[in-house]
């Protein structure tokens, strides 16, 4: 009925320690979750000691240095290194954030790095985001308008209308928020999660979109939207400073206003 421990093959074991060179002055330990699907072993925590004087300031710099110089089997996603692609989302020091935007100096003591919580792991720090992206597809994140566009193809909108999607369009779909939501942990198969609901709101308030009613109707079921209990982990953890909780509250209000 209730499991108090992880299944035997999921329990995280102590892994190897890789020491820094003797003349390193500013040494920091990085405890990193490792798991290889091919070797049948349990997940483990490897410890890497790095000389911060020979490393860039961000956690991603440390990960890349480890992969280049210490252990090339360490696996993680990364691309832009500037906080715009969303690839390097992971849990650093217990907080879901982008490794490229998290300064090592912000963490006191050893840096604990694990993959995004409650997401299936492909390998090491790489989460399986296929369900999250399938949920994104399910909200139909494209312009739906029966009215044909004007002859020059430009559907115009005023500055005020464009301002409606500020705070919504900037989402990079890193899924830090979704992976931090306890409701998504327990009901991720049916609850859409804060990232997708933020995007749903982005399309609901889009002035050029004509399917607002249908979009609101689609969310009006006990699971897709209403598993949100304003836990607020999402807004707390967003590395881009967005506010999914506020967007979700706005959707709930719009649904109520439609019914009244």
């Amino acid at each position: 009925m209730v499991a108090l421990r992880l299944p035997a093959n999921s329990r995280i074991k102590q892994g190897q320690t890789y020491k820094a060179s003797a003349h390193a002055k500013r040494v920091r330990k990085f405890h990193i979750y490792r798991w290889n699907p091919d070797d049948g072993a349990n997940p483990r925590t490897d410890t890497y000691e790095l000389d911060l004087d020979a490393c860039g300031p961000m956690v991603l710099d440390a990960l890349i240095k480890i992969k280049n110089e210490v252990d090339s089997t360490l696996t993680f996603r990364r691309s832009c290194r500037e906080g715009i692609c969303g690839s390097c989302a992971m849990s650093i020091d217990g907080v879901n954030t982008l490794a490229c935007l998290k300064p090592i100096g912000d963490v006191r003591g050893a840096v604990r790095i694990t993959p995004l919580p409650h997401m299936a792991v492909v390998k090491d720090l790489v989460p399986d985001l296929s369900q999250a992206f399938a949920q994104y597809r399910s909200i139909e994140p494209w312009l739906k308008a029966d009215t044909p566009p004007p002859p020059n193809g430009e559907r115009l909108q005023s500055r005020e209308e464009r301002a409606q999607i500020d705070g919504l369009w900037e989402c990079i779909l890193c899924f830090c928020c979704t992976a931090g939501c306890p409701s998504y942990w327990w009901n991720g198969d049916r609850f859409l999660g804060p990232a997708i609901l933020l995007q749903a709101h982005r399309w609901i308030v889009e002035s050029r979109d004509e399917a607002t009613g249908e979009r609101l109707e689609a969310l009006h079921d006990p699971f897709k939207l209403y598993r949100c209990h304003t836990i607020m982990n999402c807004t707390n953890t967003c590395p881009k400073g967005l506010n999914p909780a506020k967007a979700i509250g706005a959707i709930k209000r719009l649904i109520v206003e439609r019914q009244v």
């Binding site: 409701s183 327990w186 009901n187 006990p222 699971f223 598993r227 209990h229």
Partner: protein, 91 residues
Amino acid sequence: MPLTLWFIASIISLEGTSRAGVIAWLQAPVPLVLMLCMIVATFWHMEQGLRVVIDDYLRNDVMRMTMLLLNRGVCAIAGLLCVVSVLRLGL
């Protein structure tokens, strides 16, 4: 919300009144109706709140359905008990 405030204010104002005094207060139409509304609202709210918890945490469909029906049953019966009691005093 206003109903709850009224309820709290009434209970405070009834402090120290005898049993007969409370029954007399309840026999007036406005307190009686508001009290009935309060009971219905409270038990409805309780049922909804427990329903959210059941929906969140019970994944097994059979177990979930059973608990949802039990939830509705218990809240309905408890609510009706309160309503009948108040009506017997007030009418």
